[in-house]
């Protein structure tokens, strides 16, 4: 079986028509994973996945199976998402051996639609990183160049798609964690509007910023996966409130299913692109590497050539330096509280003989957390402490409001914004990890999007020395469908 260029839609159609055996497909994927040098996965779900695949093959003609939107599609899950019965570590030693007794809302949705969970992907420990190097389980490598990082924190998911070790993947994005590795590995990744996808079961890093999102080899599969995971879920209060407040009828994608449950993509390329207003904020493109700048402008010109109205704009009020500072203060403050629960008392790491509670939990936290996690917990604890709360956390929230307003202003004139996802292409392993501050600066084009809470997609738009470059399209709140359509247009135009 040829795994390269195999899309989720191909898999569903192939299985239904009898051209693809789900069991063979899954076996082939595991063979690839076992041969791989990339270290994309922390935990594999092999026995269970094969069992499910056989069931899919056996029951594919039953009416309710035919209607499953992801029938037999292999999917890799970032290890920050809880999977019932399957070890979930967040790439941390402190959660080694933790097997959640429940499924995240998105996992319930995937199972319901017939997806096959291949395993849990590698990531930066507790999502804290931009390279997947902070994982306790070792770094993941970039499939385009094994000496380079895949980006992070959802590096395992992006690399696995890129290397055909899965068809689809889920990531989570707090400040770029889906889009950065999508950009570095040359795949598509979408961060939904804050509140679009239920966070129930996502191990929290920074609650008010993060979203689970789809990753795939192409835009249509990304839309399909988003469609499945964005079902309303009462267990995420933020999602319920935000969806209730959304004035328009949001829809995940333009995908339609006909009476026989066959997928139908309802997009007229010429009509979509004509008159589409795309703003390119110069603050987001000025400082990036020349190759990235060139590639992104080329992409934007493709839209323009097909009838889009492109305008270079300025988001003057948006000081990216303050955006980064605001992002890191909010994220680490929330993280310092979120990570307090890991004390080894109820689950996760145990160390030899227990002593009194204070000593035992201090030792477990001391050994269980990596350097970057400890750094952020300490900084976050400091930022929230008495006397500093107003100076840091509250001020960061104010900056965030300003950034939100700045995006709203830009969207008064533009349908969407285009910019590079990352300022540069994938760098060498070990190159930046010793210098946290330079690494934090790599997030400069992605974190403002999370602060504003708007949706954004990263799409491959070229290469520099064989390394992929990502184009980032940013949409209005709940206009996932618009950026997906634009992405589809771009893919089609690029041939």
């Amino acid at each position: 079986m040829k795994l390269d260029n195999l899309t989720a839609i191909d898999v569903v159609e192939g299985i239904k028509s009898g051209n693809i055996s789900c069991e063979e497909l899954v076996c082939e994927i595991y063979e690839r994973i076992e041969r791989s040098k990339l270290n994309c996965f922390i935990t594999l779900n092999k026995a269970n996945a094969l069992e499910k695949a056989i069931e899919v093959d056996r029951r594919k003609n039953e009416e309710d199976y035919r209607r499953k939107k992801l029938l037999g599609v292999p999917i890799a899950i970032k290890d920050s998402i809880s999977t019932r019965g399957l070890q979930t570590t967040c790439a941390s030693k402190i959660l080694e051996g933790y097997i959640p007794p429940y499924d995240a809302a998105v996992i319930e949705a995937l199972k319901c639609e017939g997806a096959i969970i291949i395993g849990k992907t590698n990531m930066d420990e507790f999502c804290m990183g931009t390279t997947t190097e902070t994982s306790f389980y070792g770094p993941t490598r970039n499939p385009h160049d094994l000496s380079r990082v895949p980006g992070g924190s959802s590096g395992g998911s992006a690399a696995a798609i890129s290397a055909c070790e899965t068809v689809l993947a889920l990531g989570s994005d707090t400040g770029g964690s889906i889009r950065c590795p999508a950009s570095f590995c040359g795949v598509v990744g979408l961060k939904p509007t804050y509140g679009f996808v239920s966070r129930y079961g996502l191990i929290a890093y920074a609650n008010s910023l993060e979203q689970i999102g789809p990753m795939a080899s192409n835009v249509t599969d990304t839309a399909l996966l988003l469609e499945v995971i964005s079902a309303k879920d009462e267990r995420d209060s933020m999602e319920v409130k935000i969806k209730n407040n959304a004035a328009m009828n949001y829809c995940a994608s333009s995908l339609k299913w006909d009476e026989d449950a066959n997928i139908d993509i309802d997009i007229d390329i010429d009509k979509e692109v004509k008159g589409m207003k795309i703003g390119v904020p110069k603050e987001f493109i000025e400082g990036v590497s020349p190759a990235v700048k060139k590639s992104v402008w080329n992409a934007v010109h493709k839209f323009e050539d097909s009838g889009a109205i492109v305008e270079e704009i300025s988001m003057r009020g948006l000081n990216l330096k303050y955006a980064l500072a605001s992002y890191y203060i909010i994220a680490i403050s929330e993280a310092s509280s979120n990570l307090a629960r890991f004390d080894g008392l109820r689950y996760g790491l145990r160390l030899g003989k227990d002593e009194n509670w204070h000593t035992t939990f201090s030792k477990i936290r001391g050994e269980g957390f990596g350097e970057e996690v400890k750094r952020r917990i300490i900084l976050g604890t400091y930022a929230l402490s008495a006397g500093y709360y107003g100076k840091y956390y509250l001020k960061a929230l104010k900056v965030r409001t300003l950034i939100k307003n700045e995006f709203e202003d830009a969207f008064k004139k533009q349908d969407m914004l285009a910019m590079p996802t990352m300022p540069f292409v994938a760098f060498e392993l070990g190159e930046r990890i010793k210098d946290p501050l330079s690494l934090y600066l790599a997030d400069v084009n992605t974190v403002p999007i999370n602060l504003a809470g708007v949706p954004s997609i990263s799409i491959p738009c070229g290469f520099s020395n064989g390394l992929p470059i990502g184009l980032q399209l940013v949409g209005k709140h709940f206009e996932e469908n618009e950026i997906l359509k634009a992405g589809f247009v771009f893919e089609t135009l690029s041939g």
């Binding site: 933790y98 959640p100 209060s237 890991f342 004390d343 929230l384 402490s385 709360y389």
Partner: protein, 483 residues
Amino acid sequence: MKSESTNTNGVKIGLECHAQLITKSKLFCPCSTDYHNSEPNTHVCATCLGLPGALPVVNERAIRYGIKVALALNCEVQPQIIFYRKNYYYPDLPRGFQITQYDFPIALNGLVQIESASGGDGGRERGIRIRIRRVHMEEDPGRLVYKGTIDTAKYSLVDYNRSGIPLVEIVTEPDLRSPKEVRIFLGELRSILGYLSVFDGDLEGAMRVDANISVGGGERAEVKNISSYKDVERALSFEITRQKNLVRRGLKVTLETRHYDEVRGITLSMRTKEFEHDYRYFPEPDLVPIRISDMVSEIKGEIPELPDEKKRRFVSQYSIAREHANTLTYDINIADFYEEVASKMDAGLSAVWVADVLKGELNYRGISMREASKRVSADDFVAMLRYFKKGVITERGATEIIREMLDHGGKPDEIIKRKGLASIGSAEIEKAVLEVIKENENAVEDYRTGKKEALHFLVGQVMRKTRGRANPKDVSKWIEEKI
């Protein structure tokens, strides 16, 4: 301890009372709150165990109960509430933070009137106004269970059944002046919460209190962990004496948190280093602010007649003594029981029998009226009183019926028959009197020579012979006649 030591002026006490609300499910998850008789860790889920990734969802009923409490305490309900995280480490706290309220609580500025003990404490008037500073909601942590005592146990176990039970925290201003006032205030509070049907004071640990105490304008000490309502007076008296002794010796009271040791009945200083917290409050990012102003008018309509009001009505409507009205209205179930009995029976007589006799028997058995009403209905009670009024049974017989109903159930007429409680006729009394006179010549002689006390002895003997089925006044007349 001398009582005067706790009665002197200058004592100021403020309370933080935590009361469990009897909702069906917990504050942030669907787990049942009915855990008191369950095996440990059987009423838990991902959310109340604080498992990674699980999210809280607010139980609106709990918020409504909180608003109800605030209204009953005459508070100003706020338009919007926000939940905060209070960060600290303790093994009973599964997330490493408690979801509670900080800015934007449910309500501010309330008032509760209490009656001081008769005569007033420290010369205070009868009606004392205790200001309520704030009312807010929070989740209960789990519970540490020690094998043996806290000092001797080799390890402790954690039961998370209690984790996430909704608590309403009621904070008073330092308006209380003595441990006795505190007890009266807490009684009033329990009574009000019971009336609102949001609280069950009979459940273990249903109300827990922290107290801030200062004497003579000195620093205050906070006493934590007064877990039983009954311990409050003891804990506070100890602490006041401790502080006064310090002052007397010219030493200063330090601002500190002290832990109440209920076994030894003393308060102990918690080592400052370990227990002094910076809670790093910040708004819970998984929950949204809740507008509650729209709920208030509807909830106002659900507030029943409260104890104070009912007390006044009982005194005027049933013409009963104030003390009886106090006893009858403390527990809403007793008040309702009394009103049902009084609607069919002489209200004054009913008050005596419910407030003095029935309540006394309940206290003796340590059971609540709600529990007792499973065995004793108001109709049974009325039937029993009718027998008594007609003279079919004596006072002692009536009391016997109440005891029998409480202990084993049954109907009054059947109990009268089974236990032979019917008053006896004059022939039988005469027979018993003659026998007693014959058997107690010395006493009879004493009486004849003017020792009036001998009569009591003889009446007692007759009562014993008739097993209480005769009226002592009648017996006394018979004896005088026969001698």
